[in-house]
């Protein structure tokens, strides 16, 4: 072990956490506890503690569910797709991304439990589930995604865990067990590489299926504003969009907190900023197509819901969504993709995407096909705000605790990039150019 380890900054948060770490954990635990208190109050006094009523029987919690599950697409896009396309710039980002997926799926799944009138009967879904119901598709798909992402997070972490084991970092037994006897032998490297390749390919369709079936919860009903064929792809695009924004914010936070300036460079933010810009344009395209189709068709119930958003009680949320998701990010990211610029754009995107989920769910419910029966404007109660706040704190808490145990940047992949990446990229480039023979690329290190 060299005295001046170039990657010392990556071990420091695990081996030498600063007091600031404990302060943040304390604050996040307090925030999470408040969220738990809000839920416990709801358990005692019923969902009547929320602002929900007829006809808006779904509100904050279902919005949060779709929002958090959507962010989970960060991990898949960056980690799996960039790995498969052999984009070298993904190296310091993959673990940050993969961990967002796992943490946010856990928090997202909890939102559904919070929304249930009878969470004590959760097991009914297991014993009596019906696969005709989109909720069962959700349950299966999200379980598969959580499982696959956890494996896809853990397996590429094994060489790093082995490093921690060899450095004698405590808890020693913990790292020794999870290192799975890794010594970096040729055979082990082959096994790891093969497994990661298969997982990278598997996890992409699973991820796409997750947000598609979440969209199906709405699009499989006959309700105006929901029963649209575009919802599946629309939600997936929105998920990737919000996922990249969340990833950028996580990168900024940990770059500052753990001094990772050498690893998370301007170029990484620039590239992700370009992806964020592309997703913003793609999101706008889907949104525009959806609303134009509704408006042009002029079907009365659909139009009524449309005007709830366009000029009606939900107009402020609808237009804020457009500004946050499209206007501001495109204006910023088209011209400047510096770290602060990208950070500001990402904050607006996360707000905008949360609003987008809200604007999809609530206006349709607020103006049913037979409005004579029930009307009402939905205003969330303080309890629902508290639950949202607590959920964010819980997600951040899980994430921060993770960084205390495992390196947030994949150390062995950085080293692999230094040692082999340069050569791989050079021979790949040569194979594209006319002046060189069709050189077989050395190794398939994705």
């Amino acid at each position: 072990m060299s005295a001046a380890d170039p990657d010392a900054a990556l071990f420091a948060p695990i081996e030498n956490p600063r007091p600031g770490f404990y302060a943040i954990v304390g604050l996040l635990m307090a925030g999470t506890a408040f969220g738990v208190y809000c839920w416990s109050r709801q358990l005692r006094m019923g969902l009547g503690e929320t602002g929900l009523a007829m006809p808006v029987s779904w509100g904050f919690y279902v919005t949060n569910f779709v929002f958090f599950i959507g962010i989970s697409h960060a991990g898949t896009l960056i980690s799996a797709i960039l790995r498969i396309s052999q984009a070298e710039w993904r190296r310091p980002i993959t673990r940050l991304a993969e961990f967002i997926t796992v943490a946010v799926l856990a928090v997202g799944g909890l939102q559904i439990i919070v929304d249930m009138g009878r969470p004590d009967r959760l097991l009914n879904v297991i014993w009596y589930g019906r696969y005709q119901s989109p909720l069962l598709w959700d349950a299966t798909s999200i379980t598969a995604y959580l499982t696959a992402s956890s494996i896809y997070l853990y397996v590429p972490m094994i060489p790093d865990i082995a490093m921690l084991r060899d450095r004698g970092t405590s808890p020693k037994f913990f790292y020794e067990v999870l290192a799975m006897g890794w010594r970096g032998t040729a055979r082990q490297k082959r096994i790891l590489s093969r497994a990661i390749s298969i997982l990278a390919v598997m996890v992409i369709p699973i991820a796409v299926s997750v947000h598609t079936v979440v969209a199906f919860v709405f699009s499989m009903t006959l309700q105006p504003g929901w029963h649209s064929t575009v919802f599946g792809p629309y939600f997936v695009v929105g998920a990737i969009f919000s996922g990249i924004a969340a990833l950028l914010l996580a990168m900024i936070a940990f770059r500052w907190a753990y001094g990772l300036h050498a690893y998370l460079k301007e170029v990484h933010f620039n590239y992700l900023g370009i992806l964020l810009l592309i997703m913003s344009l793609l999101w706008f395209y889907f949104t525009f197509v959806e609303y134009l189709t509704t408006y042009y068709g002029g079907e009365p119930d659909e139009l009524a819901v449309f005007f709830q958003k366009w000029t009606g009680p939900y107009a402020v949320y609808f237009w804020a969504m457009g500004v946050c998701n499209f206007l501001i990010p495109v204006l910023i990211l088209s011209f400047r993709r510096s770290i602060p610029a990208v950070g500001i754009a990402s904050v607006f995107v996360l707000i905008g995407m949360w609003l987008e989920r809200f604007v999809i769910i609530v206006p349709t419910l607020s103006r049913p096909r037979l409005p004579e029966l029930a009307t009402g404007h939905y205003l969330p109660s303080w309890l629902e705000w508290g639950e949202l706040f607590g959920s964010f704190c819980m997600f951040a808490l899980i994430y921060v605790l993770f960084t205390r145990l495992f390196p947030i940047v994949s150390i062995w992949e950085i080293r692999e990039g230094r040692e082999e990446g340069l050569h791989d990229v050079e021979s790949r480039l040569k194979s594209y150019l006319p002046d060189y023979a069709e050189s077989g690329a050395t190794g398939d290190r994705s």
Binding site: M45, G46, L47, G48, G51, L52, A53, M54, P55, S57, W58, I112, D115, M116, G117, R118, P119, R121, L122, N124, V125, Y128, G129, R130, Q132, S133, P134, L135, L136, A139, V217, M220, T221, L222, Q223, L365, P368, R369, L370, E372, L373, A374, G376
Partner: protein, 227 residues
């Protein structure tokens, strides 16, 4: 097997809401109180929808009693994750209060907005217990409820018929709302029984169903007002 349906003659309906009151009494529907009611949490299995046509002073009020349509292809049953809302053998869309997990997917999926949810523990068992109809279970907090065509009365009528050694006849079993209507605007029975009053009424050229274009096949028909 029977296929229970209903026909409501809008030409006879006076908008008196006796059906609504009868339903509340028969089915132990909780009184949510003024605060909860102001928030939109009333539970009404049957509600009178009013539509005003025309401009003042040439207005006309239309009264349409709305309740569960007991669709033959119910969107609520499709989306229920646990079989809490289900299609019974005689066409009555049932609600299993013990199974319901309170996800409110069926509430969101119903195009007629006729399902209600227990946002709080509205029924104080002690108080209601003195007045409750013992044939109908009192719903706990966090579950969905809706019109059941007074299926408990069907069970009673079937047992009576069995005791008397005969088949059930048209008119043996009517829901509370039908029984209470002073204008005799509501007709109930087996739609598959060609001789029954309800089947004949449903065949009328003046009969229509709500949101028929959605393909839910509601078993509640309405007769247009005829001059």
């Amino acid at each position: 097997m029977a296929r229970y349906g209903m026909v409501i003659d809008l030409g006879r309906c006076t908008g008196c809401q006796a059906c609504s009151v009868a339903c509340k009494t028969e089915n132990n529907i909780p009184i949510v109180g003024p605060e909860e009611s102001a928030k939109g949490r009333d539970i009404n299995w049957i509600e009178l929808a009013t539509e005003t046509e025309g401009e003042y002073p040439e207005t006309r009020e239309k009264f349409i009693p709305m309740f569960c349509m007991h669709c033959d292809d119910p969107p609520c049953v499709k989306v229920c994750p646990v079989h809490a809302t289900y299609m019974g053998p005689e066409g009555i869309v049932g609600q299993n209060y013990d199974r319901c997990i309170g996800c409110r997917f069926c509430v969101a999926a119903c195009p007629y907005t006729v399902k209600s949810f227990n946002w709080r523990e509205y029924t104080e068992p002690g108080e209601m217990g003195r007045h409750a109809n013992p044939d109908v279970s009192i719903r706990p907090v966090g579950v969905v409820e809706k019109c059941t065509f007074c299926v408990h009365r069907e069970q009673g009528a079937r047992e009576t018929a069995a005791l008397e050694g005969r088949e059930m006849a048209d008119g043996d079993y009517v829901p509370a709302c039908v029984e209470s209507c002073p204008a005799e605007a509501m007709i109930f029975g087996d739609l598959d029984d060609k001789g029954s009053k309800v089947a004949k009424a449903a065949d009328s050229p003046h009969a229509f169903r709500m949101l028929e274009e959605l393909g839910t096949e509601p078993k509640v028909h309405y007769l247009m007002e005829r001059d």
